[in-house]
């Protein structure tokens, strides 16, 4: 069974050793949280907060690789997935936000997609 990475970059290495796929995103890269709502489709366990769906943030760093909680929660095989610390600016997310304030959140790679705009330094 190959690691279900869901990225084309992961497919090239046939080695049986769990050589982790290269992380898809690097520090400073702008990413968008998928605007997806699996909770509308049925029972699920998601570690991506509602308030970030569809929001754009900046990858701060890769925290490591961890078993996917969405599968782990149901006792299914849970391949390790890259987990990032992603930084968001407060005001676009919350009206109460104060300019300069930020939210730093742990997000799994399969919830992130490239923002498509220019890179920004972390």
């Amino acid at each position: 069974m190959t690691p279900a990475e869901g990225t084309s970059a992961a497919a090239s290495d046939p080695a049986p050793q769990p050589a982790p796929a290269a992380p898809r995103f690097g520090p400073g890269e702008r990413v968008r949280v998928r605007d997806d709502w699996p909770e509308r489709r049925g029972p699920c366990h998601i570690r991506t907060p509602h308030y970030l769906r569809g929001r754009v943030g900046t990858v701060q760093r890769l925290l490591g690789r961890f078993a996917n909680p969405e599968e782990l929660a149901f006792g299914h095989p849970a391949p390790a997935r890259a987990l990032y610390h992603v930084l968001f600016e407060q005001p676009p997310i919350w009206h109460e936000g104060h300019p300069g304030d930020e939210v730093l959140v742990e997000l799994f790679e399969h919830w992130l997609e490239p923002d498509g705009t220019a890179k920004r330094s972390a």
Binding site: P49, Q90, D101, L104, E106, F108
Partner: protein, 199 residues
Amino acid sequence: MSTPARPDSPARLEALIGALKARGLLTEQELAERQAQTDRASPEIGARMVARAWLDPAWRRLLLADGGAAAEAMGVSMAGAPPLGVLEDTPRRHHLVVCTLCSCYPRAVLGYPPHWYKSFAYRARAVRDPRGVLEEWGTALPAGTDVRVVDSTADYRWMVLPLRPAGTEGWSEDRLAGIVTRDVLVGVALPRVPSTEAA
């Protein structure tokens, strides 16, 4: 006639423990050790880690690079505990930790979370209006300080390394640790030098 609250859960726990023991996955001794380890954990551990970081630059580097390794170096068993990340406050940035999804908390170095940390009110408001929450806590940040809320959503656990307050020059590690409270380690408060102790 009312039924006792959650009458099934103790029996279910007994059944689970029995099944784990029967399969050789758990011994009574392991259970007792783990329970003792959990009960030993308290904010005093986190406070000592902070105090040492204020005094020892090498220790500070270790703490920031790998909180779990730093805890182990202090004799705290991190076996089975999630990785520990340490958030470094600066004169320009204050960290506030919350878990909006549940109640993730660095139990290995802070012990049991306080009830308010698990409340819907704190979880909803800390991420949305951190300055309002801090104000209600009586925590006044110096002007020009940005707030960085850390939403503990997944596999890490986070604690704050606050700034060492003025007026603590020459203090011992014990004395420094004494002003680092649980609330300081979560980021809802700042370390305070009692006015009677200020030289």
